[in-house]
C-alpha cells in the first residue's frame, strides 16, 4: 500500500473546469505535464470501492475511506480500510513532498498489532492491494521519468484526442512503453495502454465516468484490464467532497490509531 494521495489525485484524475477549447499546438511533454498538473483542490474526501475481478468473473471487494490535503510544501493523504474484515481499521498515511529529491514518508497502522510502522516507499512497481494498479499507475510517476512522443491526433465519437507514447528512461522499468489517449478539451487521459518488457500489450486503463464536484472534474469510475491474464480491477469513487477544510490533525498517528 503506498502513495494513496494519488488514488484521489490521479485515479480520480481531477481537473480544473476552467479550461478553454484547445486550439494551440503542444509538445508531447507539455500535454503530459498538463495531465499531471491538473488542479485538484486543496483537499478532498471520498469513498473508494475497489473490485478485483478474476478470469472466471469472481469478485473481491475492498472499501476505503480516504482524505487528502495539499499543505503547500507537501501533500498528505490518509486511508482507512473498511473491508474486507481481516483488514478492517487498518490505516495508511502518506506524505508526498513537492521537492522531487525527497522520498515519500509512509506509515501503516495495523489494529491487531496496535502498532504504527514506518514502511518503505521504494516499491513503486508493486501492485496495490492485489489489484491491477501499481503504485506508479496510481500517480507516483514523475513527468521526466519518461520520454514522451506525440504519435497521433484522433477524433472518436466527436471528441478530439492526443495520442502520446511514453517510453521510460529506465530500461529496467516494468513497462516498455505506454500509449495514452488524452482529450484535447480537458486533458484527461481516457484510455491508456501498458506494454510489458517484451513490448506486448499488458494492460488497458479505461476511464468510464467523470463528474463535476465543486468546480473540479473527478473521474469516478475507472477500470484496469490485464489482457494477458484476463483479470480486471474497477475503482469507483463516491461521496466526493472537495475543499471542505480538512484539519491538519487528520493526518497524524492519532487519527491512524483512532480511525475515521
Amino acid at each position: 500500500m503506498k502513495n494513496l494521495k494519488i488514488l484521489v489525485a490521479v485515479i480520480s484524475m481531477t481537473i480544473s473546469m476552467s479550461y478553454k477549447a484547445v486550439t494551440q499546438d503542444f509538445t508531447a511533454r507539455e500535454i503530459i505535464q498538463k495531465v499531471y498538473n491538473r488542479a485538484e483542490g486543496d483537499d478532498q474526501t471520498s469513498f473508494l470501492t475497489m473490485t478485483l475481478i478474476n478470469k472466471s468473473g469472481a469478485e473481491r471487494i475492498r472499501k476505503i475511506k480516504q482524505f487528502t490535503k495539499d499543505t503547500g510544501e507537501m501533500e498528505k493523504s490518509i486511508m482507512f480500510f473498511q473491508s474486507p474484515a481481516d483488514v478492517k481499521n487498518t490505516s495508511f498515511m502518506n506524505w508526498t513532498y513537492d521537492d522531487e529529491n525527497q522520498s515519500d514518508d509512509q506509515w501503516i497502522y495495523l489494529p491487531a498489532l496496535k502498532k504504527t510502522k514506518r514502511i518503505s516507499s521504494d516499491s513503486k512497481s508493486d501492485y496495490f492491494m492485489g489489484s491491477d494498479f501499481t503504485y506508479d499507475d496510481l500517480g507516483d510517476r514523475k513527468l521526466d521519468d519518461d520520454t514522451h512522443k506525440l504519435i497521433g491526433e484522433k477524433t472518436i465519437d466527436g471528441v478530439d484526442y492526443y495520442l502520446v507514447e511514453s517510453t521510460p528512461k529506465d530500461e529496467e522499468y516494468m513497462y516498455s512503453k505506454t500509449k495514452t489517449w488524452i482529450r484535447k478539451d480537458t486533458f484527461i487521459g481516457l484510455k491508456k495502454e501498458f506494454y510489458d518488457e517484451d513490448e506486448e500489450l499488458l494492460k488497458i486503463l479505461h476511464i468510464k465516468k467523470f463528474e463535476e464536484f465543486s468546480g473540479f472534474l473527478i473521474i469516478t469510475n475507472s477500470e484496469m484490464h490485464n489482457v494477458q491474464k484476463d483479470h480486471k480491477t474497477t475503482m469507483v469513487l463516491s461521496d466526493v467532497q472537495i475543499n471542505t477544510g480538512i484539519s491538519d490533525s487528520k493526518f497524524t498517528e492519532r487519527m491512524m490509531m483512532r480511525g475515521m
Binding site: L52, N54, A58, R60, I61, S83, P84, A85, D86, K88, W95, Y97, Q102, S103, D105, W107, A112, L113, K114, K115, T116, K117, R118, I119, S120, S121, D122, S123, D126, Y127, M129, G130, S131, H231, S249, T252, E253, R254, R258, G259, M260
Partner: protein, 414 residues
Amino acid sequence: MKTKGLMFILLLTASQVLIAQNVDINGFARTYEGALYNNGNFGIIQQTLNLTFEQLGDKVAFKVNPMAYLYNADSLDFRMRELYLDLYFKNFDIRIGNQQVVWGKADGVFITDIVSPLNLTEFLLPDFDEIRKGVIATKINYYLGNSTFEAIWIPAFTPTERPQPGSIWYVQPDFPVPPTWDLSKETITPSLENSEVFLKYTALTSAIDFELMGAYTWDDNPTLHVEKQFGIDSATMQPSLLGLNITPEHHRLTIGGGSFSSEIKGVILRGEAAYYNGKYFLTEDPLQPDGNIQKDYLHYLVGLDFNIGSVMFSSQFIQQTILDYENDILNEKTENTMTFLACYDMLRETMHLELFSYIGLTNEDALIRPKVTYDFDDSFSILLGSNIFVGDEKGRFGQYKENSMIYTKLKYSF
C-alpha cells in the same frame, strides 16, 4: 469451566443487544491443529472465537473484545482481551479499562514493550496480537502537532503467564535437591503504593520516528529467592545440601529507554533499547544468601526492513547484557539473538509465503517458522505452517526440540 461457559452465553446474548444498537461487530472463528514431528501426537487442538464490539463517536468510543479458546474438547479458556472506554478531547484522549498497550519499534521482541504482560503458555508461538494480555489501566495521551505524550497508570499488577506442569511448554527447573515452594510473596496486593506508572514521548516526523519511555514497574518475572538447608553427611561427615526453600517474589524495576525508525534510500532502519535498573539474577556466589544478586541490565536491538523485488525482508539483531557482570551469575553475560523474516505475496495477494525465525547466536539454537496462507475469498483462509526447533538443548529454542510441529489453521473472518 461452568462460570466461563455462563459468561460466554451472556456475551452472546449481549451481542444481540449490541447488534440492535448498531454497534460494529466483527471478529473471526478459527480452528488450529498441530501435530508433533516427534511422535505424531497433537501438540495443539484449539478452536477460537474472537468477537470485537466497537462504537466510535466524535467524543466517546468503546471497545469490547472477548476471546474464547476451546482446547481439545473440554477445556474452555475465556479471556477478555480488551474492554475499555475512550474519551476524546481537543488535544488529549483518555482510555480507561482493560487494554493492550504496544510500545517500541521491535518486531517479535519485547524491549520497551513492557506495559502489557505476555501470555507465554504456548511459548512465543501465538500470533503477536494474541500473545499480550490486557491490563486494567488509565491511559492519557496529549497531542502536540506530531508529538504525543502518553502516561499510563496501572493500579493492579498482572504478571507474565507461564506454562504450567503438564504443558508441553513447561520446563522443569533444574535443582540439585527437590525444593519446597513458598508462594506467600508471589502476589502483589493491589494498592496505590503497588501501582505501576509508564511514561512515553512519541514523535513522528518526516526524517525519523522516535519514542522515549520510562517506567516504574514490577518485574514481570518473579525472582526465585533460594534458602538453602545444610546438614552433615553421616558418611563423609562433610556439610551437604539437604533442602531448598524457594520463594518467588516480584520486585520493582525502574526502566528507561527508547526506539526509532527511519528510511534511508528505501531501507527502514529501526532501533530500540532499554536500561533496567536493579534487576535480580540467580547466582552461585556463596556470599549472596538467597542466591540472587541485583545488577543493571541492557536490552537493545537494531533492525533493517527492505525489499528485493517483490519480496519483503526484515532482520533484527538483539543483545541482552548484564552490566558489572560477575562470573557466579547463572545467566550469560551477554546473550545475542537474531530474527529473520521474508514475505512474498502472489496470485493477486491471495497466497502469502512467509519465513520467520529466531536464531540464538549465544546457544546456537533456533526456531524456524515457515508458513503459507491461501485466501479462498475475503473471509476464509487456510494456513499451513511448521514450527521447527533446532540446536543446543540448553538454549531458549533448542530446549523445545521435541515440540517441533506441523500445523494448520482455518480462519473465517467476519
